[in-house]
């Protein structure tokens, strides 16, 4: 060891200075370029503050006068979420089996994975727009949307769970000469049921949140009520709806958390 050294510098995360400063420069350049090229209308944005004042002024105090409309909207959201969860969780089962590498033959596996990727890639709002165009405005489009949304999440996790199952019982069943379906029912289902119910409850909570959103593009529920209130500049009613949505989401989160804890 040398004698007393008096110089020390922390070793940088990226050791090569060229790469390091290159990266810094690239980040700075990226931010500069994007901020410059974003089509931001500063004048319009500046006016926004005044507009914000008007909106918030109009929103306070929140108006619960049309609470009938509010309750109807919510009940519809709840129904949409419920039916979509049931539909989604059931449909997820065959799709998950298709997308499980240890069960499905390769072509079917790819098909299953593709369904999941597509379902996951599209934000529910996009799916909702398409369904609204295909089957018309209203809760039916909402249910279809959230079924797709549920499949994206539940089928993915379920497929992963199926890939992790204990192969012992499956082999035992096959050895006993059971058919493919019997094997599934007796050796695989018991291993995934618990998980599926937990996922279903979680998904119900997610769907309730999402149903508030898909309504904005016409797929029924409280979201439609909210979008209408916004469109008619009824900001006080919009605030009331938003407050109730927040409240319901918090409650639903707490309830679903509590139920899942009890089941697990």
């Amino acid at each position: 060891m040398t004698g007393a050294r008096d110089h020390w510098r922390k070793q940088p995360f990226i050791s090569s200075p060229v790469v390091r400063y290159g990266l810094y420069a690239a980040v700075v350049a990226y931010i500069a370029v994007t901020v410059m090229t974003l089509p931001i209308d500063w004048q319009r944005a500046a006016q926004g503050l005044e507009r914000a004042g008007r909106i918030f002024g109009g929103a306070f105090p929140p108006s619960f006068q049309r609470s009938g409309l509010l309750i109807d909207g919510f009940l519809e959201s709840l129904k949409i979420a419920l039916l979509a969860t049931v539909g989604g969780v059931f449909l997820s089962i065959p799709i998950a089996f298709m997308a499980a590498r240890n069960i499905a033959p390769l072509p079917i596996y790819y098909l299953g994975r593709a369904i999941i990727v597509v379902a996951r890639s599209f934000h529910p709002v996009i799916v909702a727009i398409i369904f609204v165009k295909a089957v018309g405005f209203g809760p039916f489009a909402g249910i279809l949307t959230l079924i797709v949304y549920s499949i994206g999440f539940v089928a993915k996790l379920l497929a992963e769970r199926i890939e992790e199952i204990d192969p012992g019982p499956v082999e035992a069943m096959k050895a006993a000469g059971a058919s493919f379906l019997t094997t599934l029912i007796y050796a695989v289902f018991p291993q995934i049921m618990q998980r599926q119910i937990g996922l279903g409850i979680y998904q119900l909570d997610s769907n309730l949140r999402a149903s508030a959103v898909v309504g904005i593009v016409g797929a029924g529920g409280i979201g439609a009520t909210l979008a209408n209130a916004f469109g008619r500049y009824d900001y006080d009613f919009a605030l009331a709806i938003t407050m109730v949505i927040v409240g319901v989401i918090l409650i639903s989160e707490a309830v679903s958390g509590a139920i899942r804890k009890r089941i697990a």
């Binding site: 060891m1 007393a4 050294r5 008096d6 020390w8 922390k10």
Partner: protein
């Protein structure tokens, strides 16, 4: 000189953990504090630099009454008290050098701390001390890559970087194997005499306490019941220190439990 006078520490409404404690430490003595768990050793040590706020009493280090200091002054005063911990209390994800230099955090500017541009003399001192204990080649390693003994050496150096007037060690060897534990004790003793530094060590291992210290303080239930040279620690004295609840305190302790 460290002077502790009528120190009382009470948590909540319960029985005090420290009961009217008096202690004076002079020169470069190594003082070991022994006693069973719950005797108040750790609380005593943490009251000295006010990591634990004393309920009453005074603690004076070389003329400064620590108990009377405001927040800002306390921070400045804490630089003068080095502390070594049972679980080393290093920042795992920082390098050894950063951990060592964090002992200087009370002195250096925020900018220097943020950019890791430590003063030249601090770096020189750090390398000297690290070489003294044989960890200089680890300067750029992350603290969590080191073994327990090496980590405790980092902990000791961090405390010494403060240029303290006293060193407090709270069970410094309790997380180490016997051999490493002895090395750390040797180190603490030698550094104390090299740097003319008084050291207070909380320790469970009575054998080590007797071997490495100049003076032994025995605590039981918040009181000092033994204070003498290691040679005077007879079996009988040991028995008193580690025996059950003393008669006078029995009732209250029973209630607390």
């Amino acid at each position: 000189m460290l002077k502790i006078k009528s120190l009382v520490k009470r948590y909540g409404a319960g029985d005090p953990v420290l009961k009217d404690l008096n202690l004076e430490i002079e020169g470069d003595q190594v003082v070991s504090v022994i006693g069973s768990s719950g005797a108040g050793k750790s609380t005593l040590l943490r009251c000295i630099n006010r990591l634990v706020e004393p309920t009453s009493g005074t603690i004076t280090l070389n003329g400064t009454d620590f108990t009377a200091l405001g927040k800002r002054d306390l921070r400045i005063a804490r630089r003068r008290v080095g502390m070594v911990f049972q679980s080393f209390n290093l920042v795992d994800r920082l390098t050894v050098m950063e951990n060592v230099q964090s002992g200087r955090l009370g002195y250096i500017s925020t900018w220097a701390a943020l950019t890791r541009r430590y003063p030249k003399e601090d770096i020189r001192r750090a390398f000297e001390l690290m070489e003294r204990v044989g960890i200089a080649h680890y300067a750029d390693k992350r603290a969590d890559e080191l073994s327990g003994g090496e980590r405790q050496r980092v902990g000791v150096i961090r405390a010494l970087m403060q240029q303290p007037e006293i060193l407090l060690a709270d069970e410094p060897t309790a997380s180490l194997d016997p051999k490493t534990s002895e090395q750390i004790m040797v180190l603490l003793r030698d550094l104390a005499s090299e740097l003319k530094l008084p050291v207070i060590i909380n320790i469970h291992n009575v054998h080590e306490a007797k071997e490495f210290s100049d003076r032994i303080v025995g605590m039981r239930y918040g009181r000092i019941i033994f204070d003498d040279l290691p040679g005077a620690l007879t079996d009988e004295a040991m028995h008193d220190i580690y025996a059950g609840i003393p008669h006078a305190d029995r009732q209250v302790e029973g209630k607390a439990a």
